[in-house]
Symmetry: C2
Subunit: 280 residues, 2 copies
């Protein structure tokens, strides 16, 4: 049996590295063969699960420097059927790829806006006169490299895959740069140490968010993350995405979710999962 | 006396429209003359206050569809001296600008990623074959319009300012599209109905965020917004930005802030301010 995995392509993106690491892990631990399918947007890779083109999608959800990948949260909220099957944590090291022999000769540097932001100080110091140009993906940036005064910021794997020379490695401003990915599918895993959910509140009462967080606190369920997103209805109305460190099937969580329903307008439970960390 | 105002330029951006609306309001209500100074990045316009090139900066902080402008929050956190003097709410209506007479003839559409995201469904329906290209600002997108198969998404004001033809107006997917701006300066306004603050927690104890929110809830201080941002130290460590609907000088808030200090590692209070809403 072969598992079809969607990711933000083309080959050479960090999403592909995450999808490859996951597929190697599945093969080693579950003897499962995987096929990787690139999509041109994160939203497209998520929709491919609902339309059953693929069984799972590996999508970035949060970077330790740039924060949430909002398109992932906003797209996930649009579905009732999607579950988080697994979390993956991948260290991120950006590489400057160019046919130029020196940094001084660079006139233009291309990359995805998140990668550019993560190397901002390095760029200001090491290539202060180069023009910075955003692209849709780190891999798309590679298409400009015929010009020897151009450089792209992408992964080391992209440099190897497309046989391009590396001008500088690990140029990210913060060395502890990690991205958390979610493996989404129509089925939840049976159980896990982490549970993710999202909700809108039924009224903007003073203290209603405090009340909701207290439901978890008084059961000693640790909240590892809270993220607000606009409902897109009007300014000042939010959805909340919450990660808790407990299994959804445990009785304190079941109990908390029952009470939570009293305060929420819509509640979506994305299931429980474990976290796999990959080495650089 | 003349007030120097920094904004994300060049002329024609939504930040310029916000800065212009604010300067007209200051002129009408306080007989204050203003000079607008464009900066090429939001971070640069904020740093210009600290370096005293300008007295204030008008910066976007949140859009009703796309959520927080994270660079504004992250840059503000880097300073101890900056205060919010005023909030501005501006309705956003995107215009498709092109020398083309028809949508069918368009091959490429340029704009800032936030504007592209806000028109995503319209683009998929009305120009499904056009290539979408991100730019640094909505105004930068206008420089590609010599090509009659190109279009830019920008403000109506940009079309007028650069005397360019409008192909379609109000193409944003959600009609209730507003952006909240902050007027930042080294001085807080004397008082106001809203207060903004940010903090890191001194320990990731279970329920410590719940405890902090409860400090406000038990004093019936309404929380209108909470936003988490990574500390950039390690994945899973956050700062929290909070807006409350009360004046920082009021005794319940003073009392709450005293208690809050018991749970925070760093606490930054950006002051109190009023909200000015502008019509389309």
């Amino acid at each position: 049996m072969s598992l079809a995995i969607a990711y933000l392509g083309p080959a050479g993106t960090y999403s592909e590295t995450a999808a490859l690491s996951y597929s190697t892990w599945l093969n080693t631990h579950h003897q499962l063969e995987c096929q990787l399918h690139p999509y041109s947007t994160i939203a497209g890779s998520i929709r491919a699960i609902a339309s059953q083109e693929v069984q799972v999608a590996v999508v970035p959800v949060e970077n330790s420097i740039e924060g949430s990948v909002t398109v992932t949260l906003d797209t996930l909220w649009q579905f009732d059927s999607l579950r988080v099957q697994q979390a993956l944590v991948l260290p991120i090291a950006h590489t400057l790829i160019s046919h130029s022999a020196t940094l001084e000769a660079l006139k233009t540097i291309y990359s995805h806006p998140q990668a550019l932001a993560q190397c901002q100080r390095w760029l200001e110091t090491s290539a202060p006169t180069a023009q910075i140009v955003p692209t849709h993906s780190t891999t798309e940036a590679l298409q400009y490299l015929d010009d020897p005064t151009a450089a792209a910021i992408a992964s080391q794997r992209a440099a190897q895959l497309y046989q391009l020379p590396t001008l500088a490695h690990a140029i990210n401003d913060h060395p502890d740069n990690c991205t958390r990915f979610w493996v989404l599918s129509l089925e939840a895993s049976a159980s896990g140490s982490h549970t993710s959910l999202a909700f809108s509140l039924s009224a903007n009462l003073p203290g209603s968010l405090a009340k909701v967080l207290q439901i978890f606190a008084q059961r000693e369920i640790n909240l590892s993350r809270i993220e607000s997103r606009p409902t897109k209805r009007s300014l000042g109305e939010y959805l909340f995405f919450i990660d808790i460190e407990a299994d959804v099937q445990s009785s304190p969580v079941q109990d908390a979710l029952e009470e939570l329903k009293l305060y929420t307008e819509t509640l979506k439970i994305f299931g429980s999962y474990t976290v796999l960390s990959f080495d650089p």
